[in-house]
Symmetry: C2
Subunit: 465 residues, 2 copies
């Protein structure tokens, strides 16, 4: 098995394992107690805080440990908003933040700042969303689904000029280096860098107004209640230091492997869109989408072929909507595959992946009776131009059919209408809203727009070629 | 070293250690993912939930894992209060609940129900505090500082009759057996039973109205956000099952050791009050207080003698007030020692403890120049009765002096006034409010009451013997 989903959870780093097992013996007691076992636990906690703070680039007394990255985000957002409640209840976030940030933002009045097709925020546009009543802004250091790195230092400078603190969710990037720039709050998650689950980091710079919400206690400066998960904290700090020592060399090596995937997948597999920024990106992560492919079937096929990857397609978990990140980018969501390589991934595993991928995609497409090749679409082009009318010459009823069927049915009939004519695709699948325009862009057809229909939505496409 | 503070954190059970280390290899992946590693993690999570639910005595779908017992309590209280917000914002708690319950209750209108001198709640009095706008009642299964077992089943029945859900904090008792009776919500903490830190339990019975507060996600039925701490969860469930198998035999053995401490400490050490219920108690926990002793010095002396215990005295941690539990019981707080024996504690360790304790106490008393013996107080009794006046014949100025100095100074002069005369002790130490009346009760002197003074408070004591 090759596990290519480090962005969900990295396998435990050997240093983390070693530190965790050692701390089970040395660090189980209550660090608040004054007896020997308690003092020993306190020493371990203090040392872990110093090591983690050094890796984050903050003072130890600015850093607390939380039970997870998600809890760090929830605590960070609610504490920062409460600390500036006199300023207002407005919050600025990017549209591609992790769901923990978006969930935390739901309590307030949030403005989501959009991204370009690579998933990148424009710092000036981000700053333009700040208002006099903005209490907090949130921008990830790098995106968890497509790997695009955000202009955090630039955004932090603009936020500082506007007097608004910036919270940076650094969950995906902290393994590779500290977050540069004048951020005010920072969050991270140990199991993303090869540390154990059960540990998040929340850094709040001195001078940032912060009022922890909900019941608190004397633990972690009153910012994270409950008995400290000390063995895991020790392992988290030790492994962060260890991955940092390897970060430059391993990052360069994995980045080269990712470049192989980025350049060769579109050659090996027809009708593929590689998404995310080609250079301003995490070293170990690449995402692509395959036309006419059902994400769940694709993941199942890759799993059987020995590869564990994740997907932002709809229908791949309990949700029926495609990933909010792909939606914000306006890119194809069907047949979406995210590959995130854990440190140490052998080059041969990536080659093996590139070897099996074409056949797995072909097999899923065959099962779905997908159009064989792009040529099939543009080849048949009888008849003349039917004028500029948006009245559909043909209606495809895809009601009740899930992604990628509506797109497949559209692709099959586009050759049946004259160039200039409009096809209406009726669909009640949320993914169609994203994938039909994306298909038009990939196929050089014109996406006219959508209209409410008696059932579902009518997506209008004009044949251009 | 003998570690006698299991009620703070029990050393890791061998089964917990074994399960944790195994789960580091098998259970690091995201249980929400559909690939092999994710499915394996999901199986471990499901099996752990089933095992823990069986030990709790609930259905697996009624139980979620939280990052700590404290977080379980916070989530349980806020979710239950929100689920019944139409009923009201009133909450009934016992005065001796764990601080996590009392902190959670601070957000609402809370009624604290008092306890008797053994720390036990009267179920009828508890039920009498229920009002038409009471949304929730909270009663611990057993007290964490003095070991007294609460009448939970009886309280649950009365709550049920009143239509109010009862939340039981079972942190201290779950190792010893399930909580009997018709509770509605239950919380617990793995590191109290020998599981790892980082895992709490929250059970919410079907039919109990519950609305999780704060941002949530798809984890743990939407009741505990953030990536599951799976290796620790696996270890928690496995160790709970293991300690339960040993509970009957080990409980009986430790209970006998506790009885030795309960009966012999007052014989070995003069001026000691053993607190907590003598029979309705946890098997492994006993607490006593020593007159004329500074809690921190006592803990330090015991630590140097090789024993790790905790204390509810003031001045033993960052707080200057005695434990709210001892205060609610109205018992002596100075020189307080809680002994809680971990499973497997050898009888010889308890004997060794009983061997060193008298000398450690004597040494602390000597340093404080404490009254040598009770006889010294009642021996000198010159003069006659000074009438029934509350006007002090003598004023002891203990302003600026911390526990146990005010009580020591009182004890030194009680023999200097005639029987029937009143001594006024001026003190600004919070512990005096508890310890001067407790001293009177132990010494058979009359506690007249307190009066506000220009500085601090005047505590009035009439010499009776």
């Amino acid at each position: 098995m090759s596990y290519f989903d480090a962005a969900s959870a990295a396998p435990l780093h050997p240093v983390a394992r070693q530190a965790l097992v050692a701390a089970l013996d040395e660090g189980w007691a209550d660090p608040a107690r004054l007896y020997r076992e308690g003092r020993r636990a306190r020493l371990l906690l203090d040392a872990s805080r110093e090591a983690a703070a050094e890796a984050v680039g903050c003072r130890p007394d600015e850093l607390v440990f939380t039970p997870s990255g998600t809890r760090a985000v929830h605590t960070g957002v609610s504490g920062a908003m409460a600390g500036r409640r006199r300023t207002g209840r407005h919050l600025v976030v990017s549209a591609v933040e992790h769901s923990s940030v978006l969930h935390a933002a739901e309590t307030y009045e949030a403005t989501e700042v959009g991204v370009d097709r690579t998933g990148r925020v424009d710092a000036a546009a981000f700053a333009a969303a700040l208002r006099p009543d903005t209490a907090l802004a949130c921008l990830q250091s790098a995106n968890h689904e497509v790997g695009t790195v955000q202009p955090v230092a630039e955004a932090a400078e603009l936020c500082r000029a506007a007097g608004v603190p910036l919270l940076v969710d650094a969950a995906q990037s902290l393994a590779w280096g500290p977050v540069e720039g004048g951020w005010s709050l920072l969050t991270a998650s140990a199991h993303k860098w090869g540390g154990p689950p059960g540990v998040g980091l929340l850094a709040v710079r001195k001078g940032v107004r912060f009022a922890a919400q909900g019941p608190t206690d004397e633990r972690e400066s009153g910012r994270s209640p409950g008995f400290e998960n000390l063995p895991a904290i020790v392992a988290a700090a030790a492994s962060l230091r260890a991955v940092r020592e390897e970060a430059a060399a391993e990052g360069a090596r994995l980045s080269e492997l990712v470049d192989r995937i980025r350049s060769r997948v579109p050659v090996l597999v027809p009708d593929v869109e590689v998404v995310g920024h080609p250079t301003l990106r995490l070293p170990h992560l690449v995402t692509f989408s395959c036309l006419y492919v059902d994400g769940e079937a694709l993941l199942g096929g890759l799993d059987r072929a020995g590869f564990s990857v994740s997907s932002g397609s709809s229908c791949t978990s309990s949700t029926l909507t495609p990933s909010h990140v792909l939606r914000a980018m306006g890119v194809l969501s069907e047949g979406n595959v995210r590959v995130s390589l854990p440190p140490g991934t052998p080059a041969e595993d990536v080659e093996r992946f590139l070897g099996v991928l074409p056949e797995v995609v072909r097999s899923v497409r065959d099962q779905l009776d997908a159009p064989a090749s792009p040529a099939a679409v543009s080849a048949a082009a009888p008849g003349g131009v039917s004028g500029a009318s948006d009245e559909p010459a043909l209606t495809v009823d895809s009601l009740g059919k899930r992604c990628p069927i509506p797109v497949i049915e559209l692709a099959k009939v586009i050759g049946d209408v004259p160039v200039g004519a409009v096809i209406s695709v009726l669909s009640d699948d949320e993914a169609a809203r994203l994938d039909i325009p994306a298909w038009c862009q990939m196929r050089d057809q014109e996406y006219v727009g959508e209209r409410a229909a008696e059932r579902g939505t009518a997506y209008l496409v004009r044949r251009r070629t």
